[in-house]
């Protein structure tokens, strides 16, 4: 039995339903859910699936009419496709099991290990939200520095104790020296000197210890910040192209740059201050209680009240700060959009409109900030007010106790001295709310990157391929980009050393297949095998080492020509680089550059023409000596003369390698062993040029259309 639990009804409203296939019948629950409709399987029945914009449809056809149609969202697509497959086998053979002989995953059709029951690729789909205790997760980065952190903590404790000495000394200073003096006794100079030197000593010790702890902790936090940045960047580089497609450059740059810096400042400054404050409060309260429990109790009374207030505002501030972050990256995104496209902006004279867009983003930024500041500005004064009220209470209660001679004036003075520090700390502690929230928001955005599991994951125990021959097999490959199926049921076997040309209209899925073969994306269904091994079983770096890729738009990094050629093999010798450049027909024009191979290229570097850049990128591919070569419209962005030069370079490159070439101009694929014609994500024809021409099918039409086009161009050329 096979089934689909439908989640939509005929008019595309959400409602549950069932479609069940047994070995003799197809059953569907009726819209009201009580009854079942049934069709006996017979040869004239057929079941077809198609989908559009996230909705799939299953249609049941009889001999001369459509019998029924069911709809579902794409979350059910896998089981729906399976049902369609099983329906066909069931109708033709009368038994209900898959036609496939290998052990393949019933859902995504990926081949499985002989004894495996669960498909490792299907179970990946689970999505769990990250925990909210994001800041605690920074411990992972703090762990290597735990000894320094411990030293810093001990120093903090000591320096704290040192700062608590002076207020304590005010008590005997008051009671034993000043009050007796007021009462007519002379000042005991030696005692006064002892107290005063005690005050000085405490201050000096506190200074020394304070310096040491700040230095150590700042050092550590700076290192934690650096580790966080590099780890995030390293992780980012490992993510699949899918991730980069969905993100904007400005946003990613902000996350890695300024957010990690903010976390660093938080750790070194605010968190440290906060920890100090908490310690201070604990130690102070201990001292206060030891002097006079009743007065201590009254002093500490406003504390829970303030803590409660902080808690209330915390929630509102946190969402506010997250919002500000988002708005801020909106502002940077406008910049990142506009500056690279500045030529278009100027060409269409849209400076004013871009400025307006930036102003708009800033206005949004202001509005969000204003709203937050309303809460935030009320917060600090309220804490101050509470502090003053607290002091007032202590004064009042203290005077009352003094009048009843339960405490001395010295005790009250000491209390007020402690409290003065104590409450100012409370005020600054309240600031921790906002900085913690800011840092937590930043940490969340960084961990968003770190938590993102690459959709092209590395396997735990990769298979090692020592001697790659370069045979590629695509088995029932399907790929879905967002809600669009861009490849479906592609089967293709490429022999080692064979050259295959992919042809088809634009949007027919040529580049998608290349991206899948390079494993920039993983297939949604089926599998791609290299020499009989699923490429998902190989370590990504090992696999890609065997692929040379030449793109339509060659990208040169900032650096010398030699660096760019040796990009895939940083340790290459000068001889290798020159040999690769020679083979790529790049040697001569490189020699013409003022500094030869040491000329700087890339952004801000030497201007090179499209053909020259392309030949450097071909040399780059040649140098790593790959078994598999992929040419993605390698010659389409240059003129015919340059194309000839590049073609010569490519001929060197292609020799002895498995080559997959995409070209818009069919003439450039003459020497391909086979041509694969794609249409709307499916292979429609495969064969050599002559065979496909004789077939007079899709390839023939493409070729004729291009020939006509060329004739027109030639005629125009003659006419002028």
């Amino acid at each position: 039995m096979a089934w689909v639990d439908l989640d939509l009804d005929a008019c595309l409203c959400f409602s549950p339903g069932w479609l069940v296939l047994t070995n003799v019948r197809l059953l569907a629950s009726t819209p009201d859910g009580d009854d079942w409709q049934a069709w006996s399987l017979s040869p004239e029945l057929s079941l077809r699936q198609h989908d559009h914009a996230g909705v799939g449809a299953l249609e049941l056809f009889g001999a001369n009419e459509r019998l029924a149609v069911w709809r579902y969202t794409l979350s059910r697509n896998v089981s729906a496709l399976r049902l369609v497959d099983l329906f066909a086998t069931c109708r033709d053979r009368g038994e209900l099991h898959s036609a496939a002989t290998d052990n393949v995953c019933p859902d995504c059709k990926a081949p499985l290990e002989a004894d495996a029951e669960e498909c490792p690729y299907c179970s990946r789909e689970l999505q769990t939200p990250p925990s909210t205790w994001t800041l605690l997760r920074l411990w992972r980065f703090a762990h290597p520095y735990r000894l320094q952190l411990l030293a810093g903590f001990v120093l903090t404790l000591l320096s704290m104790a040192a700062t608590l000495v002076p207020p304590y000394l005010t008590m005997p200073l008051m009671d034993n020296i000043l009050i007796p003096f007021q009462n007519g006794k002379p000042i005991d100079v030696s005692l006064a000197t002892r107290y005063l030197s005690g005050l000085l000593g405490a201050a000096v010790v506190a200074w020394g210890l304070g310096w040491a702890k700040t230095y150590i902790l700042a050092l550590v936090s700076e290192r934690i910040g650096a580790d966080l940045r590099t780890t995030t960047y390293e992780h980012l580089l490992k993510l699949s192209l899918e991730y980069f497609g969905g993100k904007r450059t400005g946003d990613l740059m902000a996350r890695i740059g300024s957010e990690s810096d903010r976390i660093c400042v938080f750790l070194s400054l605010h968190l440290l201050d906060f920890a100090t404050d908490v310690l201070m409060i604990c130690m102070t309260s201990a001292i206060l209680f030891s002097i006079n429990p009743w007065l201590a109790l009254v002093t500490l009374l406003p504390l829970p009240f303030i803590a409660w207030m902080i808690h209330i505002v915390r929630d509102r501030l946190r969402t506010g700060f997250e919002k500000i972050d988002r708005v801020w990256s909106e502002v940077t995104n406008v910049l990142a959009d506009t500056i690279p496209g500045i030529r278009v902006v100027k060409a269409f004279a849209q400076e004013r409109r871009e400025a307006e867009r930036f102003r708009e983003a800033n206005r949004h930024n202001l509005a969000v900030n204003d709203r937050l500041n309303k809460t935030w500005s009320l917060f600090s004064p309220t804490v101050s007010l509470l502090t003053e009220t607290g002091l007032l209470v202590v004064w009042a209660f203290g005077i009352w106790l003094v009048s009843r001679s339960e405490i001395t004036v010295g005790v009250l003075t000491a209390f007020l001295a402690y409290i003065g520090r104590f409450y100012t700390r409370l005020d600054s502690m309240s600031r921790i709310v906002s900085v913690t929230q800011k840092a937590a928001a930043g940490a969340k955005r960084i961990f968003d990157i770190l938590d993102h599991v690459s959709s092209v994951p590395e396997v735990a125990h990769p298979v090692r391929l020592n001697d790659v021959r370069g045979g590629i097999e695509l088995r029932e490959v399907g790929f879905r980009y967002g809600n669009r199926a861009v490849a479906r049921g592609v089967n293709l076997a490429i022999r080692p050393g064979e050259m295959v040309g992919l042809v088809g209209h634009s949007g027919s899925g040529k580049s998608t297949l290349v991206n899948l073969i390079c494993r920039f994306y993983d297939v949604s269904e089926g599998a791609i095998l290299l020499d009989g091994v699923d490429i998902r079983q190989l370590a990504i770096a090992d696999f890609r080492r065997n692929i040379g890729l030449v793109l339509q738009e060659p990208f040169l990094f900032f650096g010398t020509v030699a660096d760019n050629i040796a990009y895939g093999k940083p340790g290459a010798s000068r001889e290798e680089i020159v040999a690769a450049a020679r083979a790529a027909h790049a040697h001569e024009f490189i020699l013409r550059l003022p500094q030869g191979y040491d000329s700087l290229v890339g952004e801000r570097g030497q201007g090179l023409s499209g053909g020259e850049r392309q030949r450097i990128s071909i040399a780059r591919a040649l140098l790593i000596d790959p078994k598999i070569l992929i040419l993605d419209e390698a010659t389409s962005s240059v003129d015919t003369e340059t194309e000839k030069e590049i073609q010569k370079a490519l001929d060197n490159l292609v020799r002895g390698r498995t080559t997959i070439a995409i070209a818009h101009r069919l003439s450039t694929l003459r020497q391909a062993d086979r041509l694969v014609v794609l249409d709307r994500g499916q292979v429609v024809e495969v064969g050599p040029h002559d065979e496909l021409m004789a077939l007079q099918g899709a390839y023939y039409r493409l070729y004729q259309a291009q020939l006509r086009h060329q004739d027109v161009l030639a005629d125009e050329g003659e006419a002028s």
């Binding site: 989640d7 939509l8 005929a10 008019c11 595309l12 409203c13 959400f14 409602s15 559009h52 914009a53 996230g54 909705v55 449809a57 249609e59 056809f61 001369n64 009419e65 459509r66 149609v69 709809r71 969202t73 794409l74 979350s75 999505q127 769990t128 939200p129 990250p130 909210t132 969905g246 993100k247 904007r248 969402t319 997250e322 919002k323 988002r326 969340k444 968003d448 879905r480 967002g482 809600n483 669009r484």
Partner: protein
């Protein structure tokens, strides 16, 4: 486009459920109706497209079409266009993405997974388009018109 004289055409639904277009004697089976601006102008700018993806007929305004044709086009559109409009947010599993949203739409209640904040797109006039992990787009036509609870939840993601 010549708006003054719209070409004569008739639409028909075949027994196989496909749409058949008879455009001045030329008959095409398997015609698909497509909205050119599904969000900005859902009832204008509709194209009838052939099975090969070639445009056969452009319709400026749906309400100007003959009753029978209009009904068939609307029917074809409604079975193809799927963009549930969120009326109310009932709950979200977490304010950090990915998270599951439980919402009430004009097509009934449903759950969906939001993969990341970039799944929420701002459209002109304050509209929001929320794309779930399967690529289904949910529309929030006017965030300000949602109830207080929904607005508060939504606000956390904006």
């Amino acid at each position: 486009m010549n708006r003054a004289t719209p070409p004569e055409y008739t639409l028909r639904r075949t027994a196989f459920g496909a749409l058949e277009l008879d455009l001045e004697g030329q008959v095409t089976v398997g015609v698909v109706a497509v909205r050119a601006f599904p969000i900005a102008a859902p009832d204008q700018a509709i194209s009838l497209v052939g099975p090969e993806g070639n445009e056969l007929l452009w319709i400026d305004r749906l309400e100007e079409q003959p009753e029978a044709n209009r009904r068939l086009i609307e029917e074809a559109l409604s079975s193809r266009e799927f963009m549930p409009e969120i009326r109310r947010l009932i709950g979200v599993s977490s304010f950090a993405t990915p998270c599951t949203w439980h919402v009430e739409t004009d097509r009934g209640e449903c759950d969906f997974i939001l993969r990341g904040e970039e799944g929420i797109r701002r459209l002109p006039h304050g509209m929001l388009l929320i794309t779930d992990s399967h690529g289904i787009a949910f529309l929030v036509r006017d965030p300000a018109a949602l109830d207080r609870h929904s607005r508060r939840l939504l606000d956390r993601f904006l």
